[in-house]
C-alpha cells in the first residue's frame, strides 16, 4: 500500500533503520506510508486496528524531521502537538515515545501537559516549549486562549489527533475542530494527522478533520474539504474469534446483570491468562465484581476499575495490571481506549455490547499483537440480548460496523471559542467567520448565526438591549474585537472546556463526629436519589451503609450486609445502534437462522410465532391485550431505550386526547409498553404513529421537560453564561456560588423563547437526550408497516418488558405527586 516503490531505505534515516533492526522489527507498510505522506506535505488519516503500531506511525515523521534538523543556537518553538481524548492516554504515550527517543539518542524533548501537570512544569512549558507536546482538547483550548498563542504556535508543523473516532461526533470534537482552524491560521504550514480505530465510514472523519476553505480565504494552498486528507490503512489484523455464551436452558427473561452466567464466566477467567470483563454501567461493574468474588475459591486476583473510583485506587489497579499481577479486571468504558496493558488474551462482554464498533474496540484490547487473533466472549443477560449478541457477533465477522453520523457544530461551543479568540488577541469578524467555517462541523455556519454568537458573547444577545455597557468583548476603533478587561479574560480561562459532567459527590467513610474521613470514590448526584440513610449498597467492591449526605460528601460506613439494596438501573447507558437493531430484526424473522440460538430462546421465538406474530425486518409488531384491570399496548421497534421513551411520552399525550386514559409506560432497548383504562384494539394505529407527533406535541412536551432544563444547563455553562468557577468567589461555608440555571431557564423561556441558548438547548435535547432524528427515521420506516396482533392475553415477547414494570423510577416531573404524598403523611400524623 505504500507509495510506488517507496521502501524503508528511501524513507528512514540510517539511525531509524538501525533502531528497527536492533529490536528485531521491520517497519510496517503503513508506518512508511505515513512518512511518505509527511514528505509530500499531505494531511493524513491513518485507520488501523489496535496494536498495529499506530501511535509510532503517527510520530515517526515528526521524529525523523526533528532528528534531521540542524543544531541551532536560537530557542525553538513547538514542532508537534499531540491531542488525546484522555489525560491518561497522553501520559501513557509520553512514556512510550520516550523509548525510541532514548534508544536512538535523539535530541528531542516530548512532554505531556494535562490538568494534573504541576504548576512549575506548566509555566516552564509556556516559556520554553518542548519539541513535542502531548495534551487534551481542553488544554489546547486553554493554550489557544493565551495572549501569546500566535507566537507560541508559529513554528508548529504537525498536529496528531489520536483516537479521533471517539472525539469527532461530540461537543469536544466541535471545540477541537475550531482550535484546529485557529492553529492553521497561526501556523499555515501545519500538517494534520489523524489516528483512528477501524470505522465504518472514514469520509465522516476526513470531513471533520479537514480544513474547509476557499484558497483565497486562507493562507494555505490546496485546502478543499475531506478530499485534502489522504487515507492510509493499516493491516486488517487477524480475524477476532468471538463466541456467545449460550447458557443452555438458563437464559433469563429479563434483567441486566447476567447473574445466571457468573459461574461460567468464572470458569472462563480461570482458563485465560488475563481477562478484561467489560460491562456497560458502574452498577453492573460493582455487581459482577461482587458475584465473581463470591465464587472465587481459588483466590484469583480479580480487580475492579470504573470512573467512580478514587483516582489513586484506579492507578493501583492499572499498575498491578501493567506488572501482570492480575488475572481479571471488571471494567466499564474507562478502559475502552488504547492504553497498553500487555498480556490480555480474553475480553468478556457482560450484557449486550449495543454497537458493533464499540465492541470491536473492546475486543481489540485482547492481544496487542496483530498476527494472533483477539478472543472475545459475549455473555447475554436476557433473551433479547441473546439475539443482539448473535447479531453483533455476525456483524463483527462480516466486518460490518456502525458509525456516528456527521454532526453540525454547536453554537454554545462556538461562543466559548469566540471568547477564547478575543482573549488571545483582537479579531476581525469577517476573518474569524472564514476561519470558523474552515472547521468541518461549522462549514455551513450562516453569517446570521455567527453574528448572533458574537452578540451573545458580547452582551448576552438579548432582545432587551440593557447590557450594552456591560459588554464582555468590545469593538476597537479599527473595527476589531477584543476582551473588555483582564478579569473577564481570567474568568474565561478558568472555565474553558466542553465536558459538562454531572455534579459529583465524594464518597467518604464517616467519622464518629459525623464528618468525612477517607475518600472511597465519587458518585453522580443522581444516584443518591434512590437511596435513603440506612440503606446498604455496593460501591468500590464493598458493601456500605449510607449514613447521610453533607453538602459535598456522601458519608458511609462499612456494612456486613449480605443482601445490599441494589439501586434499580436501566440497563445500558448506550443506545442500541441503528445498524445492530436492524440485524436483530433480521435474525428474528429468519427461522433458519435461529439455530445459532440456545433451545430455550428458540422455543420462546416459536411460542411467539404461534401465539402472536413475528414480523418482517421492515415491519413493526404492535400487540394489544387486557391484563388485570388494565389494557396494554406493546410495540417492538428495537430502536433503543431513549427513542422508545420519547415515543412513549408523545404517545401518552395522544392517547390522553383520544380519551383512552393512559396510566403509565415502561421502555427497554427493544420494546415499549403503555397501559390504559380503555382498550386500545380499535385505534387507528397509522394515525396514532403518524410523523406529525414530532411537531407540536414534541415542542409542547419538550419545553416542560426536565431534559430541556438539563440541556440548558450544559449549554449555559459551555457558552460561558454561567461560570462554574470564578476567582475568590466562595461563600462563607466554602461552597462555590452556583446559580440555579432552572430559574434562568424559566425566565428566559417566558420572555425570549428564541434566544440563542434556548435554540442550543433544544437542538441538544433533540439529539442527545431524546434522539428526535432517530425517532423520525423510525416513524418513517414503519409507515404503513405496523402489524397489529390483538390478543386475549400477554405474548411471550411481552414478558420481558412487563417484568420491568415497577422497577422504574418516575422521572423528575412527578414533583407535585411527591409533595402531595408528603402532605398526606403530615395529615395522617396530625389526625392520629
Amino acid at each position: 500500500m505504500a507509495d510506488a516503490g517507496a521502501t524503508a531505505p528511501d524513507l528512514l534515516p540510517p539511525r531509524f533503520q538501525a533502531w528497527f533492526e536492533g529490536r528485531g522489527w521491520a517497519p510496517r507498510a503503513h508506518q512508511l506510508e505515513m512518512v511518505a505522506k509527511a514528505r509530500e506535505g499531505r494531511d493524513a488519516l491513518l485507520i488501523a486496528p489496535t496494536g498495529g503500531g499506530k501511535t509510532l506511525a503517527g510520530f515517526l515523521p515528526t521524529l525523523i524531521e526533528l532528528s534531521e534538523r540542524p543544531p541551532g543556537n536560537t530557542p525553538r518553538g513547538l514542532h508537534t502537538l499531540y491531542i488525546s481524548p484522555l489525560k491518561a492516554l497522553a501520559v501513557d504515550v509520553e512514556r512510550n515515545l520516550g523509548k525510541p527517543i532514548a534508544e536512538m539518542g535523539l535530541p528531542i524533548v516530548a512532554e505531556s501537559r494535562t490538568g494534573d501537570t504541576g504548576v512549575a512544569r506548566r509555566q516552564r512549558q509556556r516559556v520554553k516549549p518542548p519539541d513535542i507536546l502531548l495534551t487534551t482538547p481542553e488544554q489546547l483550548a486553554l493554550l489557544c486562549a493565551w495572549e501569546g498563542a500566535r507566537l507560541y504556535f508559529q513554528d508548529l508543523r504537525c498536529v496528531i489527533l489520536d483516537e479521533i473516532h471517539t472525539l469527532h461526533a461530540s461537543k469536544r470534537g466541535d471545540l477541537l475542530a475550531l482550535d484546529l482552524a485557529r492553529l492553521q491560521v497561526l501556523a499555515p504550514a501545519l500538517r494534520r494527522v489523524g489516528l483512528s480505530a477501524t470505522v465504518d465510514d472514514p469520509e465522516v472523519i476526513k470531513n471533520w478533520m479537514a480544513s474547509h476553505g476557499r484558497a483565497d480565504a486562507l493562507p494555505c494552498p490546496l485546502r478543499g474539504g475531506g478530499s485534502s486528507i489522504d487515507l492510509v490503512r493499516g493491516p486488517p489484523g487477524a480475524e477476532p474469534i468471538v463466541d456467545v455464551l449460550l447458557s443452555e436452558g438458563r437464559v433469563p427473561w429479563s434483567g441486566h446483570t447476567a447473574q445466571h452466567a457468573m459461574a461460567e464466566v468464572y470458569e472462563v477467567i480461570k482458563k485465560a491468562r488475563i481477562a478484561l470483563v467489560f460491562v456497560n454501567t458502574r452498577f453492573q461493574a460493582e455487581f459482577a465484581f461482587q458475584e465473581l468474588w463470591k465464587l472465587n475459591d481459588d483466590g484469583l486476583p480479580i480487580a475492579l476499575h470504573h470512573g467512580s473510583l478514587a483516582a489513586e485506587q484506579r492507578r493501583k489497579v492499572e499498575a498491578a495490571m501493567a506488572r501482570g499481577e492480575l488475572r481479571a479486571v471488571v471494567c466499564t468504558s474507562t478502559l475502552d481506549l488504547g492504553i497498553d496493558w500487555g498480556d490480555v488474551d480474553l475480553v468478556i462482554q457482560l450484557a449486550s455490547p449495543k454497537g458493533a464498533s464499540r465492541m470491536v474496540q473492546r475486543i481489540g484490547r485482547a492481544n496487542h499483537r496483530l498476527d494472533e487473533p483477539s478472543r472475545a466472549l459475549f455473555v447475554p443477560a436476557n433473551r433479547f440480548e441473546m439475539l443482539e449478541c448473535q447479531a453483533a457477533r455476525e456483524a463483527i465477522a462480516e466486518n460490518k460496523l456502525d458509525g456516528d453520523p456527521p454532526r453540525v457544530g454547536a453554537l454554545d461551543v462556538l461562543a466559548q471559542h469566540v471568547m477564547g479568540c478575543a482573549v488571545s488577541e483582537p479579531f476581525d469578524m469577517l476573518t474569524l467567520y472564514d476561519e470558523v467555517r474552515s472547521a468541518g462541523p461549522y462549514r455551513d455556519l450562516s453569517w446570521e448565526d455567527f453574528e448572533a454568537v458574537v452578540d451573545f458573547v458580547s452582551t448576552g444577545g438579548y432582545a432587551l438591549k440593557t447590557y450594552d455597557r456591560f459588554r464582555r468583548i468590545v469593538k476597537l476603533p479599527d473595527g476589531t474585537w477584543r476582551v473588555r478587561n483582564l478579569q473577564v479574560a481570567q474568568r474565561h480561562r478558568l472555565n474553558v472546556g466542553a465536558i459538562v459532567s454531572p455534579a459529583m459527590l465524594s464518597v467518604r467513610v464517616g467519622t464518629r463526629r459525623g464528618q468525612g474521613g477517607r475518600k472511597v470514590g465519587e458518585v453522580e448526584e443522581g444516584m443518591l436519589e434512590m437511596l435513603d440513610p440506612g440503606d446498604t449498597f455496593v460501591f468500590a467492591g464493598q458493601v456500605w451503609e449510607l449514613l447521610g449526605v453533607t453538602s459535598l460528601d456522601v458519608l458511609v460506613r462499612p456494612a456486613n450486609d449480605r443482601e445490599p439494596k441494589m439501586p434499580s438501573w436501566g440497563g445500558s447507558k448506550f443506545a442500541l445502534s441503528t445498524y445492530l437493531a436492524k440485524r436483530v430484526r433480521q435474525l428474528m424473522f429468519d427461522e433458519e437462522h435461529w439455530k445459532v440460538l440456545p433451545t430455550d430462546v428458540c422455543e420462546w421465538l416459536g411460542a411467539q410465532k404461534d401465539r402472536s406474530l413475528i414480523v418482517a425486518e421492515d415491519e413493526m409488531l404492535l400487540e394489544t391485550f387486557p391484563r388485570g384491570r388494565r389494557n396494554f399496548m406493546v410495540v417492538y421497534p428495537f430502536e433503543g431505550r431513549l427513542t422508545h421513551t420519547t415515543l412513549a411520552m408523545l404517545l401518552t399525550r395522544r392517547l390522553e386526547r383520544l380519551g383512552v386514559g393512559p396510566l403509565g409506560f415502561v421502555c427497554n432497548d427493544y420494546a415499549m409498553a403503555i397501559w390504559a383504562l380503555e382498550p386500545m384494539d380499535s385505534l387507528d394505529f397509522a394515525e396514532l404513529f403518524s410523523e406529525d407527533m414530532l411537531g407540536d406535541d414534541l415542542e409542547a412536551w419538550l419545553s416542560e421537560s426536565f431534559m430541556m432544563k438539563r440541556a440548558f444547563k450544559a449549554c449555559a455553562i459551555i457558552s460561558g453564561l454561567i461560570e462554574k468557577r470564578f476567582p475568590g468567589a466562595e461563600t462563607k461555608t466554602g461552597r462555590q456560588i452556583t446559580f440555579s440555571t432552572d430559574l434562568i431557564y424559566d425566565v428566559l423561556r417566558r420572555h425570549e423563547p428564541d434566544h440563542l441558548l434556548l435554540r442550543c438547548a433544544r437542538a441538544d435535547a433533540a439529539t442527545g437526550l431524546v434522539d428526535v432524528a432517530r425517532l423520525g427515521d423510525m416513524l418513517t420506516r414503519i409507515r404503513g408497516r405496523i402489524r397489529h396482533s390483538p390478543l386475549d392475553r400477554l405474548s411471550p415477547f411481552s414478558v420481558p418488558i412487563l417484568l420491568e414494570i415497577g422497577k422504574e423510577r418516575s422521572p423528575g416531573q412527578a414533583g407535585e405527586r411527591i409533595l402531595a404524598e408528603a402532605e398526606e403523611d403530615l395529615i395522617a400524623e396530625a389526625t392520629r
Partner: protein
C-alpha cells in the same frame, strides 16, 4: 433537629380557596399564598420578601450576562397578586433590590411599574441588608420594621423567641423526601409563633431550612409550606432532608 417532639400540632391549617394555606401566626389569621406572598387578614396586607430586583444586571455588571428579564418577571408576579387580593397595604419585606445601585439600573418601564404599586394603596419598604439605603426616587414609606394586624414585620428574623414576627432574609427552601422521590421547593416556615417567608424574586435562590441559620428560631419542629404548582403543601419536619 435531633428529636422532633411527638406532640400533635397545636396550630391548625387548611387549604384556602386560592390554593394557599390558611393558618395562624401568634393568633393572627394569615394565608400563605402559592406565589410565596403572605396575606395578613387583619390588616388587608400583602407581604412579599426578597425581591432582589436587578439581580440580573448586578451579575452582568461583573461580566456574567444573565437574562435581563428578572425584574419584569418578578413585578409581573407581584402585580398579579395585587390584582387577586386587592390589598390596602403592600409590604416589601427587605432586599427588594439586589444591591444599592439597583434602583439606578432599572429600565424606565420597570421603574414606572414600581411607582404604580403605590397608587391607590399604602406601599411600605422594609429595609434589608442588600438595600440598606431604601428607595431613592420611588414612592412609599421606608421603615426598619412595622407592626400590622398584630404582627411585627422585619427583614431579618431576630434570635430567640419572637412571637408574632414575620421575616424574610433567609430564602427558605424545603427538600421534600417521599417514597416516590425528592423535590426541592421554596417554602414558608412557621411554628405557629413566627414565620419566615420564601424569597419572591425570580432569581433568588433558596437556603435549605435544615441549615444552621434556621436553628433556634422555632420553639417546636416547624411546618414547611412548600410552594407547589397550584397549591401550598404543608410538609412536616421529618419529611425534610438536607441538600
Amino acid at each position: 433537629m435531633n428529636a422532633p417532639a411527638p406532640s400533635p400540632f397545636n396550630y391548625a391549617f387548611a387549604a384556602s380557596a386560592c390554593g394557599g394555606l390558611a393558618t395562624r401566626v401568634a393568633r393572627a389569621d394569615v394565608v400563605m399564598r402559592c406565589s410565596g406572598a403572605l396575606w395578613i387578614e387583619g390588616a388587608q396586607a400583602l407581604v412579599v420578601a426578597d425581591l432582589h430586583l436587578e439581580k440580573g444586571s448586578s451579575y452582568a455588571r461583573r461580566g456574567q450576562l444573565l437574562p435581563p428579564y428578572d425584574t419584569r418577571e418578578t413585578l409581573g408576579r407581584l402585580e398579579a397578586e395585587i390584582a387577586a387580593t386587592k390589598p390596602a397595604v403592600v409590604v416589601l419585606l427587605g432586599d427588594t433590590f439586589h444591591d444599592r445601585k439597583s434602583e439606578a439600573r432599572l429600565a424606565p418601564d420597570d421603574a414606572e411599574r414600581l411607582r404604580g404599586l403605590a397608587t391607590g394603596r399604602r406601599l411600605v419598604w422594609v429595609i434589608g441588608n442588600h438595600d440598606a439605603d431604601g428607595p431613592q426616587t420611588l414612592p412609599g414609606e421606608a421603615v426598619d420594621e412595622i407592626v400590622l394586624g398584630g404582627l411585627t414585620l422585619r427583614h431579618e428574623p431576630r434570635a430567640g423567641a419572637q412571637p408574632g414576627e414575620v421575616a424574610g432574609h433567609l430564602h427558605p427552601a424545603a427538600r421534600v423526601v417521599a417514597p416516590r422521590g425528592t423535590v426541592r421547593r421554596r417554602c414558608f416556615v412557621t411554628d405557629g409563633e413566627r414565620t419566615v417567608l420564601p424569597a419572591f424574586g425570580a432569581y433568588a435562590g433558596g437556603l435549605n431550612v435544615l441549615d444552621a441559620a434556621f436553628a433556634g428560631l422555632f420553639v417546636r419542629p416547624p411546618l414547611a409550606g412548600a410552594l407547589g404548582a397550584a397549591r401550598v403543601r404543608a410538609i412536616g419536619w421529618r419529611r425534610l432532608a438536607g441538600d
